[in-house]
Structures are given as structure tokens and as C-alpha cells.
Symmetry: D2
Amino acid sequence: MTKKSRFLQTPVEPFAVEAGLTAEQILSRMERISFQGRNLAVAHRVWLKMLESAGGLRMVVAHLIAKRYVDCLVSTGANLYHDLHETRGQHHFLGSPHADDAALAEDHIDRVYDTYADEEEFIDNDNWIATFAASLDSRPYTSREFLYRLGGHLWEATGRDGILTAAYRAAVPIFCPAIADSSIGMGLSQARQKRAGAGQIDIIGDIVESANLIIRRPRTASVVLGGGTPKNFINQASVQAEFYSPEVGGHKYALQIVTDVPHFGGASGSSLEEAQSWGKLATDAARASVQADATIALPILASALEMSARTILARRQMPLFSMEERTMTIDGHTVPSDRFEDLNEPAV
Amino acid sequence: MTKKSRFLQTPVEPFAVEAGLTAEQILSRMERISFQGRNLAVAHRVWLKMLESAGGLRMVVAHLIAKRYVDCLVSTGANLYHDLHETRGQHHFLGSPHADDAALAEDHIDRVYDTYADEEEFIDNDNWIATFAASLDSRPYTSREFLYRLGGHLWEATGRDGILTAAYRAAVPIFCPAIADSSIGMGLSQARQKRAGAGQIDIIGDIVESANLIIRRPRTASVVLGGGTPKNFINQASVQAEFYSPEVGGHKYALQIVTDVPHFGGASGSSLEEAQSWGKLATDAARASVQADATIALPILASALEMSARTILARRQMPLFSMEERTMTIDGHTVPSDRFEDLNEPAV
Amino acid sequence: MTKKSRFLQTPVEPFAVEAGLTAEQILSRMERISFQGRNLAVAHRVWLKMLESAGGLRMVVAHLIAKRYVDCLVSTGANLYHDLHETRGQHHFLGSPHADDAALAEDHIDRVYDTYADEEEFIDNDNWIATFAASLDSRPYTSREFLYRLGGHLWEATGRDGILTAAYRAAVPIFCPAIADSSIGMGLSQARQKRAGAGQIDIIGDIVESANLIIRRPRTASVVLGGGTPKNFINQASVQAEFYSPEVGGHKYALQIVTDVPHFGGASGSSLEEAQSWGKLATDAARASVQADATIALPILASALEMSARTILARRQMPLFSMEERTMTIDGHTVPSDRFEDLNEPAV
Amino acid sequence: MTKKSRFLQTPVEPFAVEAGLTAEQILSRMERISFQGRNLAVAHRVWLKMLESAGGLRMVVAHLIAKRYVDCLVSTGANLYHDLHETRGQHHFLGSPHADDAALAEDHIDRVYDTYADEEEFIDNDNWIATFAASLDSRPYTSREFLYRLGGHLWEATGRDGILTAAYRAAVPIFCPAIADSSIGMGLSQARQKRAGAGQIDIIGDIVESANLIIRRPRTASVVLGGGTPKNFINQASVQAEFYSPEVGGHKYALQIVTDVPHFGGASGSSLEEAQSWGKLATDAARASVQADATIALPILASALEMSARTILARRQMPLFSMEERTMTIDGHTVPSDRFEDLNEPAV
């Protein structure tokens, strides 16, 4: 027992309870406990490192956009739709997971686990989106371009904060590869009833654009909240970019807060290590994977970052986007959606 | 104790082990045990009922298409891509979830939990898809139309069975709303490098077409394997269809085999009851929800159906699709993707 | 692509659906698919290997005892209590997980997820156990000795098959380390109201006895269904035995069917690999871990074994227990509960 | 839309990020979000209510004992063993869940998911426990009595804080119904090698004592961290107590932080509603169930309580235990382990 094993380096230290601890202090005391508590603390540290690096593609929700904790967002359509619902001055309501769903259906109330919403307000949203989409030119828009314009329209109409409006004002691009699988997609489809040729979304253009973004700013970090299509889209962008640029070698930082598990083989619950085999992540990427509901982990993490990342954020050289035109620019350079920027091609 | 409670109707009966039991016999003996075993048996019964009804929209994987256990498929891009990989004569390989992913990355091996594949073969697939996509007309294709043509091309090239080829031969439509989030999407994006204007997918058209399908054949059933975008897309089609047709009132049958759970609020793990509040399911829909990996549940369920559904299948009036043209038909009627068939509109 | 990586050895093969497949055929076709389906097939193969070896400590439920698929059982008290309930001619009933529990409480119906039982029958069981326990001598009994006598009393009273009665008739020992946390424990506690000094259980003696069993028959296999205290008790017996016998080196075979996951740090969901670090399993142990509800996996596995293990079972040299006396014997040798058999001690 | 449904009462309010938020402020801002985040906030509120009530049986870990957030603890043996390990001045170490377990086994390092410990130190602990147990009288001890004496011995030997020592000093009883399934049980079994008749634990006496405790102080609350045997033992105590006292009617408050799920039928993941059908909880019990790893939820909850519960704790009338003798007393009244205090019996 005199000679410790090489495996025994850093002792676990118990969490010391104290009144008035801030989020940052709580996470700092969780760094040397075990299991998911420790992982949440590591996630905090990895995020700080992300912000300190030269950075590129990253994503998380609303406030983090405005303060530029993230430079880019990939989202499900549902998240953006429920955001639009609230920004338009409507509400979600506290409900019960044990509700009588037939009674809810009769009252035209839609349930999302323990949360209710008014179906008529949803129908009104769909129509509002359809009307806006029908007012656009009859040409394909990437989801990124469409969502930027939708955010702008929403800001003009409401002047209220939210994910879409914050992204519009901070000029942070949002990609939504599965937009067809959401009520925003339903609104877009209804635009065709209002005007022939309306509601065209070029999601393949989103693939090109997101990869070009990484080709331009190759040292990227990925923040995943909850899995699903956004998780794979972020990772695939990195793999796709590498085809055309030798400088891209997987995300350099990765952080995921998931509830899904790896052992059923789905991408949603897959480990960050598995992502390394694909080249989605660099094999030496700093990383943290937390098994927790984002509704618990994110409030704590964001509260802590608001304190701990203050000076890092202030001196950070963030990428600057312009999205006024059909083709986006980053730091003054165009990011085309119709062709990859091929750095492997010999210069003419 | 002489008077039993109204709650105590049907006694649980233990499963009796016997040599040589078939899948159907096993499921039949599981009908009166508890927990997920019982749910799997109920799922079998619900599926049989689905087939006996006049039916409409239903979905599950390969063999079930050819035998028309299902009339329509909604899939992730990943499932179809890995199908194409095998149909092209390549393999996935038994692997370990505890692999050294850095070593795999060095060997260009991609890992999916306990399964390996050759990255170079994947790059070849992507290029094969890109070449095919670049050979198509420079116009938007719904994912349904594109996948039908891809299936046809694959059948001509290989003559091998698979999901895409079976669907092509049986004229069963496949929708892939999140096609941009997959290697099929990556192949489509690479088509733009081969020919300007290639790789256009009209996923909003898919929303219109899938709803029109339900408007035409309103008594539908949904079979969900694993959650994700297909689950919501199937359910949303039913909600969308109801806007335009008073006859549609949610799926009449629903069956899901999921590993995700409801309590984190995601659509992927949401309960069939929650779906009723939205009108995705009829409030009196026959339903079964099984918490199990589909790789366990589906082989047993399909093996059992192959026996139990024989006569039902033989006398079934299945919908007939034609997909040779840009606009699909069902039983001779067109299913447009540019406009909902509005049965609420007064006849001219 | 001409030279495959060392990682790509065995191609995945799709499951072929066919009418009339037996459980054994289904599992055999699942051996080369992916994820938990493959794991279930591997579990079948590992179990067959267990039976072919010289064998020792193993455990699973009722039928497997009578046919001696297992030589020993470790159980929760709840499993044995619900077994006793049915053997006494009472029932569990099909119920709903969405029941109104206040209404059930009013009717004195106890719910276990989707299964109901009559509380008055439970109270009667408790009293029946208490009366039997009060009839025993005023001395401590290991849970193993008590459960053998309880099984005998139950067989005399009912002549019906069940776990307790099958174990009694086949002379298979049952350990229940957490017997105090169950209604059997409640029955034992009520025996003290009937007679002072009744209801004494020597669970520490169970530790000694289970380790001595392994010291006697050291090449052991463990079959875990569902985690909890039985899982660790089986593994701890192997570790404890090794203190006193150089021949014991962890279980040689291990199979677990669990729904719990490793990442929260509990023993219940811990991996078989983690068990190797403790010496609970030999580092070269054949093993299979399946993430599935036992109510799905076990009927299939047992149905398959009934066919596949037939000849192996017939020629198997199983250990023979005698439990008529306070001290158990195995193959004629005593297995004390008051002292470990120390093979490290020099012979006198 | 003018008339809202009765279901839409309380709007969801977004979490507002701010630098320097304390745990209490974070939880207060989580009260009106959705999913598990909301549940964690409700758990905080329920715990405060528990402390304000006249209260009785409650349980949670170390610090909460000393400050008397809880009046009684039910624990697994493993938790107490790892506590003893640290109190004896030894450590657990940060490790990796992806470790090479064969290499760890060679170095005699035991792994618990992402945490390592030195096996030789564990062997030394076992021996230390065995020596202490062999020094006690040759008679059965309830786990409660044994653990009180063990805590006292540990305090004398080390003078260090921990669960066992805090409980000893605060005179808070600890029950460990599955003590045989742990390394404390292994230490007790080894005591028999040191002295015949040592290591006797009367776990059935623990059932009697815990029920008598509730009979004495019937308005109880239960706090469950992680499920397993402690969860059911706490609940069963309430059911058992009701047999002998008309005043007991299930716990009045209940709070569980679990990662297990209900749909596989195990007690560990069962819902608080299911517990109501059994009478374990009052049908009007205030309750909160949080799906989260306790290593995340508890540091936050305890940090918040340390602030929010300050005044409530100060004016609280907590039950006073004395455990110097074989028979425990509460507020001066004896709590026997050999017989239930039957309040249904007519007074003599």
C-alpha cells in the first residue's frame, strides 16, 4: 500500500454544502466528485476553453446567441417554433404528465409531457408563417436564409427577445436541416395554398453552406443539447468540410448534454468517442458528455458561464456574419451554398 | 375477499417454456404476462388489426415493404444510406463498443456502437449518389420522388434486395424529411460540385404529398420504430391532413417500439397518449407502445406476423401507387406536392 | 480498399424473416445483426457454454430451476413473495400504468406498473408466512435455510409448481440477502407478534455459505436478470471466496439482462467489464450483457435453450445439494454458514 | 381564443440567465420552466414543506444528517462502506469509464464507473470491520444498532466527519436492510473467522423498529436518492406501521431523485403515484419526482436548502433519539425491535 498504482492520481473530494453558493461555485465544487455531477463540471471547463480558442462553429440556445457564447446554431424546427410562439406574445402553460389526453383533445390543448399549449394559437402561428413565406420571392431559400428573414420579420412585428430574434439581431446563422418535420415546415407547406411556388427550402444548400463555414474558420467546437438531427448535422458538417480542405480535422472541442444512451446504436445517444472514429471530432478534442436533462444542466451551466466567462468573452475575436444578401458572408468572405470552396483544388 | 374489485378482471398467466416454440406462439404466451413483454404481444395484435382494416399510411422496414405489411415508409437518411451500402455489395462488420476509436480513425473505420464500416466505401457511396443526382434534371424533387428514382437506379445497377430496391419494385413511397442530415444528403450536396443546380430536394413538397395521401385514404395506421424525425413526420401528416379534410381524425391504429422515454419532453420518447391531445392519434385509436430495442422486438414481431397475418394479407385491398411521373398517383388519383387537396373547399 | 482493415473481420448479416421460425432459429439469425439483438443472441450462446462447462453457481427463475439450467438462485424478496402469492392459488391481474391510484387505493388494489393485486390477499399471505415462521425453532436461520423450509411447507400445502416449490423439490438453494426489504420480511417481522424470538434470519451466514459453495465448486457462472441486490451478492460471493481459496478467480461465465445503465455509477447497471476490475469476473470470462426488459428477453432465451441445450443438459454433471439439515451439503460435503472453509490454511 | 381552456392556468416562464446566481435563485427561476428542471425546483419546495411540518421519518446523506434536514437514514451498505473508507483517511480517485479493466485488475484497482479505489485498502477496511464486529457481544444486533456502534468506533478512531460519524454524533438512526449485500456484510462475515458466533445482524428487528418509529411519530416524509432497497424499505415501514396504528396513513411528503424508469416494473423506478395505490404514500401527499443523477441534483438542492431552510430549521422540533442501549428511544419513549407497538390493541 506504500506505493500507489499509476491509476490512483487524483483523489475524489466530497462536495461541501454552503449557503449562498453561486452556480460557478457549485460547479467548481463538483469537479472532483463522481458520475454525472463531475461531467457537468467538466462541461463547464470545456466550454470556457472553447471560448478562449480562436473558435468557429458552435451552438446553443437564446441568451447564449446574444452574448455570443455561440457563433452559429443548429436547431430542430420544434424549438424554433415554440420560440416563435412565445415571441409572438403567447404562452405555454404548466401542465401534468398524468393529464386526461382525451379531455385535452376536446379542449384543443396540445400537451408536451408536463406543458400545455393552445392549439388555436398554434394554427394562428402556422398561418402567420405561411403568410410570411408566401410574401417571399418564388425561389429556394436555405433554411439559414429563411430563418434569418423570419427572425427579422418577427423582430419588426414584436420587438421581443427570443432565439429567432436574438439570432437576427446578433447576425448569428441558424440551420434547421429537419425543418420539414415541424410546425414551421407545416406553415411553409401552407404557403403553397396561398401562392403557387411558395415555401421552397434548399436544405442541401444548408449542407454546403455549413461546410463552407468550417472551411473558412476551421478550429471549431460543437455544443449539443439533447441529440437528434442537430447533433449529427453539426458533426457531418465537419466531415464534409474535410473533403475539401486539408486544414479541417474534426471539431477541436465537443460538449454534449444528452439523455439518450449509446447501446441502441442511434446517433442521438452515441458517445463522443464514437464520433472520433468518423473524424467528426479530432482524436485529441477536449470533450465532455453529460447524461442529464438540459432543463437541469443548462440553467446551471449558463449561470456559471455568465460569471466565469466574462473576461474571456470580452477579449474574444468572434466571427462576423452578414446575412442581408442571399449569400452569407463571414468576416467579409462569401460563404456560398451552391458550391463547396475546394482548398484542395490547385489555384488557377 | 369474496367480492373482487372491478379492477381485477384478467389474471396474469405465467409464460410456459416449451421446446420448439415459434415466434407467434411465444408472443401469444406473452399476452398475459407483465411489463414490456406484454406490450410486445399487444403490439403484435394491434399490427394484425391494422392489416385487417381498410388501412392507409403505415411504415416499417424492408421485408415488410415487399410483402406490403406497410404501404408507405418514413425513414431517416441514415437507415436508407446503410441500406444502399449493403445493396451495393458492401458490408458492415461485427465490432466492439469498447473499441479504441483513435485506432479506428487511423484505419479509416467508422463505428456505430458495436458495428464497423469502411470509410472509403462510404466515400465511394457518396460519390455514387452524387453522380446519380447530377444526372437528374435541374429541378426540385421531393425526397419521395428522389428516393424512388434512386431505388430504381440501384435496382438496375445491382439487382439486389434492400429497402430502397424493395420499395421501388413494390411501388411503395418513401419519405425522408431529414434527408439533409445524412450521408445521402452529403452525396446530394456533392452533386453541386459536379453540376451547377443539381441536388435540389423539395422537403416542403413532401409535407404536402404525405398529407394529401392521408386525405385520399383517411383510415391510417402508424408504426414507429425508434422515434426521431420519422415519428413526428407521420403524426404531423395526420394533423396537417385534418386541416383540409373533415374525414381525417388522427391515425386509427398506432404502434411504437421506442427506447427513449417521455419525461425529458422530446417528441421521440413521447407517449401515444400525448399524441392524442394533438389529434395525431384518434382518441379511440388501438395502440401499443413497447420499450425495447427494435433489433430485439422487430425480428420476433415480423417472424410472428409472417405466420399470423398470412390470410389477412392475402385478402387485403392495398392502395396502389404509381411513381413513374413527377406527380405520384394512388389508386389512379393524383397526389400533388404543390397544393393540398382541400375537401373543405366548396366544389366549383 | 483492396486491403481490408484488421477491424473488418465478420460482416453483419441481415435478419431474414420466415414464417414458423422457432425461438432458437430467431436467436441464431440474430447473431450477426447489430446492437441489443446481437447481444441477446450472444447471451444464448454464453448460456449454452455455461451448461457445457463443469459449472457451479448460477441463477434464473422457476422452470430453469426444475430443469437445472441453474444450480442456485439469488433473488429479491419481492420475486419470491409474488411467486408464493400465485402458488397459493391467488392471482395478479392485467392493469394499466395510467390507472387512477387514489381509486385503486380506495379499492385496496396494489399496482405494479401495469399489473394489479388484491391487498387483502397480500395481508393473508403475510399472516401465512408469519404463522409458518412462528412454528420454527427460536434460532437464526440463513435465508437459504428458511426459504428451503418455506418452499417445503408451500409444496405440502398446495402441491403447485412455482419458484419456491420447484427449488424445494429440485433441492436448489435460494439466497435472499435483502429479505428484510420485502413482504416476506414483513411476514417474518409479524411472527414476533405471534411468538417472542421468532423470525430470526442470519443473512451474514448467507454470505459465508454462498462463498463456501464457490470454494467447493470453483468454476462458476452468473446469470443476472434485472440487477439489484442479487447481482452484487452473486459477484461478491466470488470475491469473498477468493480470500480463502487460491483456486477461485472470478466467475468464468457471466450473462446479464439489465435495463439500468452504467453512467450513474450504481452496481445495478454496471458493466461486466467493471466487474472484472474487482475480480468478480475472470478477466477472460465469456460474457454477454443485454439491455432489455427480462419480460421480453427471457421468454425467448428460455424457449430457445429448451431446444438448444437439450443434449448438454442430459449429460451434465450437476452439483447435488442436500438441505434437510441446518447445514447444507453439496455432493456430500458440508457447506458451513458459521465459518469459511479456508484452503489457504496449512493442513493440520 | 378569447376564452382560455381551464387547462391553461399558469404560463411557462423562461429561465433568465444572470451572473452570480445562487443555487436558491437558480431553483426559484426553474419553477416555471418545463420537464425535469421544473421537477427539481418542485423538489426543493416539497423539502421545505417537509421541514416545516411536524415531521418524522426522513432520510438523505451526510451533511443533511448533522444539520438534521433528515431524522433517520436508510442506506445501502455500499454507500456506508465507501463513507467509512474515506473517514478512515483513504481516498477514491478520479478515473475513466473507458479504462482497461484487465490492467486495473492486475494493479488491484477497483472501478466504479469513473472512479477508482485501491483494493488493498478495501481488504484492510474489511478486516477493520471484522475486528470491530468480533469485539461485540455474541448476540444479534439490528443493523441500526450495529451501525450506531460502528459510527462511534469510527469517530473514536478518526475524529473525522462522514455519514456514519455524523449520524453517531447527531444520534440519527441508520437502517441498512441489505447490509449482507455489501462489503460491510463481508467484513461482518469475516468476523466469524475471528470468533465463533460473531457478526449476527437482526434485519427483521430493523423492520419492527422502523415501523415502531413511524407509529410513534406518524406524520412522516420520505426522501429517496437513487432507488434500490432503501426506497422500498422506507415505504414498507409506513405500510407495516399502519397495520398496528390507525393514525398512520402513508408518508405525508415524498421526494425522489431517480434515474430508473417505471416501465420495466421494478420498485426502484416506480412512480410516486404507484406508491399511493399501496398506501405507502397518502393519496394527498405533497410530492416531487426528479429524473436526474443525484450527483447533479443533490449538490444544487442542498446548496439551495442551506439558504432557504435556515429559519425553518432553527424553529423545528426534531425528534430526539437515544441509542446508547440495545433498545433505542425516541423523545424518551422506547422503540422496541422485538415487537410492534400495537395501538389497535385495547389498553389493559
